[in-house]
C-alpha cells in the first residue's frame, strides 16, 4: 500500500510540475503582456525598462525565474494583484474556499440522488422502471450547466420565486437557511450531469455484481432481497462509484466556471474569467495551476481510495 501511494504521489508531482512549467513558460513568453511594460507603464524608455527588468529579475534565465516563482508559491508570497488590489494568495484562498464549498455540495447532492436511483434500476433491470431511469439519465447527461442553469433559474427563481437567482455570500454557520437557499440552484445545476454519470455507472456495475456467486450464496441462505441488494451487491459497487466521484472533479471544476459566471458566485471559476477579461495573465496562470492541482489531487485521492478498498489495484496498477 505504502509503495503504491508513493508511486502515485510521484506521478502527481510530475504532472503538476509539467502543468506549472507549461503555463509558466507560456505566460512569460507572451509578447503583448510583457511584465516590464506593465510595471514601467507606457512611454518608458529602453533604459528604464532594462532597470525594471533587472529589479524584478526578469533578465535572468527562465529556469531561474521559474525557481523563484515556485519558491513564492510554496511560501504563499505571490505579491499583490494590481487589478484586484489585494494580496494574490489571500485572493486565491478565499475564492477557492467558495468553489470547494459549491463542489462539495454538488457532489453530495449527486451521490444522494444517484445511489437510490442506480440501486432501483439495477434491482429491476430491464423493467419499465429501469428503462425510465436509464433513459432519463441519458437525457440528464445531455443537460450541461449551460442549458440547465438558465432553465432552472427561469423555472425556480423567476416563475415560481422559490429560490434566489443570484448567490448571496452568507456563511453557512451564521445563517444556514439563507446559505442553503442561495447555494441550491448552483449546486443542482452542477449536480445534474453527475447524477446521470453515477446512475449509469452504478446500474451496470451492480448488474454485473448481481450475477456473481456470492449473491447466489446470499440468496440461497434465504436472506431477504433488500439485504442482498444493499449489503452484498451495493458495497463492492460503492468503491467504483467513489472512484468515479473523485475522477469527475475535473468535470465539476469545468462546470463550476459556468455556474459561477451564471450565478455571480465569487469563486475560482469567476476569478479565472475575471483574470481573462482584465488581461491579468500572471494571475490567470496561477488560477489555471490551482485548478489543475485540485483535479490532480482529487485523482490521487481516487486512486488511493480505490486501492484501500480493493487490494487487487495495488499490485496491478490503477484502473483506467
Amino acid at each position: 500500500m505504502g509503495r503504491y501511494v508513493m508511486r502515485r504521489l510521484v506521478r502527481l508531482c510530475l504532472v503538476l510540475f509539467a502543468v506549472s512549467v507549461i503555463t509558466f513558460v507560456v505566460a512569460r513568453e507572451v509578447p503583448d503582456q510583457r511584465v516590464d511594460l506593465t510595471i514601467a507603464g507606457p512611454g518608458a524608455t529602453e533604459s528604464q525598462l532594462a532597470e525594471v527588468r533587472h529589479q524584478w529579475g526578469l533578465d535572468r534565465p527562465l529556469p531561474a525565474q521559474y525557481g523563484t516563482w515556485l519558491h513564492n508559491v510554496f511560501t504563499g508570497d505571490l505579491g499583490r494583484s494590481s487589478a484586484f488590489n489585494t494580496s494574490v494568495s489571500s485572493l486565491i484562498r478565499h475564492r477557492l474556499a467558495v468553489s470547494v464549498e459549491l463542489m462539495i455540495a454538488a457532489q453530495v447532492l449527486a451521490l444522494m440522488v444517484a445511489i437510490p436511483l442506480g440501486l432501483w434500476a439495477a434491482a429491476r433491470a430491464h423493467s419499465a422502471t429501469d428503462t425510465a431511469i436509464t433513459g432519463g439519465s441519458l437525457a440528464l447527461l445531455s443537460l450541461p450547466p449551460v442549458i440547465c442553469g438558465p432553465l432552472l433559474v427561469w423555472i425556480f427563481a423567476l416563475e415560481l420565486h422559490w429560490l434566489p437567482s443570484i448567490y448571496s455570500e452568507v456563511h453557512w454557520v451564521s445563517d444556514p437557511w439563507q446559505s442553503a437557499r442561495s447555494l441550491a440552484l448552483p449546486a443542482v445545476t452542477l449536480a445534474i450531469a453527475l447524477v446521470a454519470v453515477y446512475v449509469r455507472l452504478l446500474r451496470s456495475d451492480m448488474i454485473r455484481n448481481l450475477q456473481r456467486d456470492f449473491i447466489v450464496t446470499a440468496q440461497a441462505k434465504g436472506l431477504p432481497r433488500r439485504t442482498v441488494l444493499t449489503r452484498h451487491a451495493l458495497r463492492p459497487s460503492l468503491a467504483s462509484l467513489l472512484t468515479a466521484a473523485a475522477l469527475n472533479v475535473g468535470v465539476l471544476v469545468g462546470g463550476a466556471v459556468i455556474v459561477e459566471y451564471l450565478f455571480s458566485i465569487p469563486g475560482m471559476g469567476s476569478l479565472t474569467l475575471e483574470a481573462v477579461s482584465r488581461r491579468d495573465l500572471q494571475l490567470l496562470q496561477l488560477c489555471i495551476v490551482t485548478l489543475a492541482a485540485v483535479v490532480v489531487v482529487a485523482n490521487l485521492l481516487a486512486d488511493v481510495l480505490h486501492a484501500a478498498i480493493d487490494p487487487r489495484v495495488r499490485t496491478e496498477g490503477p484502473a483506467r
Binding site: 506521478r11 510530475l14 504532472v15 503538476l16 509539467a18 502543468v19 507549461i22 503555463t23 507560456v26 505566460a27 507572451v30 509578447p31 503583448d32 430491464h126 423493467s127 419499465a128 429501469d130 428503462t131 436509464t134 433513459g135 441519458l138 437525457a139 447527461l141 445531455s142 443537460l143 450541461p144 450547466p145 449551460v146 442549458i147 438558465p150 432553465l151 433559474v153 427561469w154 423567476l158 416563475e159 449509469r200 475535473g250 468535470v251 471544476v253 469545468g254 466556471v257 459556468i258 459566471y261 451564471l262 479565472t272 474569467l273 481573462v276 488581461r279 495573465l281 490567470l284 489555471i288 485548478l291 489543475a292 483535479v295 490532480v296 483506467r320
Partner: protein
C-alpha cells in the same frame, strides 16, 4: 428486455433525423427560404421586435428584431464547423496515439499516458481559456491565430486525451486476442497487424467515439461561448445566445430557451446515437 427495445428504434431514428436536419440547415442555409428572408448572417431584417414564437417567426424575435430561428441556424453552422473539424482531426491523432500505446505498450505507452495525464489535469473549459487568452493574435507556423483557429485547436486538445484513454483501453483488450497472437506468430510486421488486424476490429469503437466525442466538444464549445470567450460577435453561437438571453428570461424566455432546446436536442442526439452504436457493437468501454 421489453419496453426498452420497442422504444429504442423510434428514439434512435428521431436522433438521426434531428442530426441530419441540423447538418442540412448548417450546410444549405442559403437556399432555405424559411431561414433566409430575415437574415444575412445576423438574422436582422424582421420588422417586429420582441415577438414570441409564431408562424412567421418560429422561435420569436429578439430586442433588435432579429429572428431567433435564423440565428439558431447560423449558430448551428458555426458550432458544427468548429466541433466537426476538431473531432475529425482529434480522432485521427488519438487513434494513432491510442493504438500505438495499446499495441506497443512499454515506453510508448508510458510517454502517451504521461502526456494524456498532463492534458487531463486541465478541465476542458480551462484548457480552452488558457489557449484563447495567451495565443490570440499570434502567428505560429504561418497561421494567423484568430479566435476561430484557437477554438478549433483547443477543442482538438480537449478531445485527444479523452479519446486516447478509451482507444488505448480498447486496443489493449483487442491486442490480447488470439488472432493478433497468430498474426505475430506467422511473422506479420507491426504495420500489417495494426492495419489489417487491429484497425478493422477497432473501427466500430472509433465510430462510436466520434459521436460521444462530438457531444463532448459541442458541450465544451457552448460553455466557452456562454462565458463569452468563443467566436466573437456578430457571429452567433448557441452558447452565447443562451447567455445573452438569460437577463430577459422572465419576459422574453424564448431568447434563451429556444437555442437551449436546440443545443439540448443536438447533444442528446449525439449521445443517443453513440449509445445505440455501442450497444449494437457490444463495446463495453465506449463512453468518452
Amino acid at each position: 428486455m421489453t419496453g426498452r427495445h420497442r422504444l429504442r428504434p423510434i428514439v434512435t431514428i428521431g436522433a438521426v433525423v434531428w442530426l441530419a436536419m441540423v447538418a442540412f440547415h448548417a450546410i444549405a442555409y442559403t437556399a432555405l427560404p424559411w431561414v433566409h428572408p430575415y437574415a444575412e448572417r445576423t438574422g436582422q431584417g424582421a420588422s417586429n421586435f420582441r415577438r414570441p414564437p409564431s408562424w412567421a417567426h418560429w422561435f420569436g424575435t429578439d430586442k433588435t428584431g432579429r429572428d431567433v430561428f435564423s440565428r439558431c441556424v447560423y449558430g448551428a453552422r458555426m458550432t458544427l464547423l468548429l466541433t466537426v473539424a476538431a473531432i475529425a482531426v482529434a480522432i485521427v491523432i488519438a487513434a494513432a496515439l491510442g493504438i500505438g500505446a495499446g499495441y506497443f505498450r512499454g515506453r510508448v505507452d508510458g510517454a502517451v499516458s504521461g502526456g494524456t495525464d498532463v492534458m487531463l489535469a486541465f478541465p476542458p473549459i480551462i484548457l480552452l481559456l488558457f489557449l484563447t487568452a495567451y495565443f490570440e493574435g499570434r502567428h505560429v507556423a504561418g497561421i494567423d491565430l484568430t479566435r476561430k483557429w484557437l477554438v478549433v485547436i483547443g477543442l482538438i486538445a480537449v478531445a485527444i486525451p479523452q479519446l486516447v484513454r478509451v482507444i488505448r483501453a480498447n486496443t489493449l483488450s483487442e491486442a490480447g486476442n488470439d488472432y493478433v497472437m497468430a498474426a505475430k506468430a506467422i511473422g506479420s510486421p507491426h504495420h500489417r497487424i495494426i492495419g489489417r488486424q487491429l484497425l478493422p476490429n477497432l473501427m466500430p469503437a472509433l465510430i462510436t467515439f466520434t459521436f460521444t466525442g462530438l457531444s463532448l466538444l459541442i458541450v465544451a464549445e457552448s460553455g466557452l461561448a456562454f462565458v463569452g470567450q468563443s467566436v466573437p460577435p456578430p457571429e452567433p453561437t448557441w452558447g452565447r445566445m443562451i447567455a445573452d438571453g438569460r437577463t430577459d428570461l422572465n419576459t422574453l424566455w424564448w431568447l434563451s430557451m429556444m437555442p437551449a432546446a436546440v443545443l439540448f436536442l443536438t447533444v442528446l442526439s449525439c449521445n443517443l446515437v453513440g449509445d445505440w452504436l455501442s450497444q449494437r457493437w457490444e463495446r463495453p468501454e465506449t463512453r468518452v
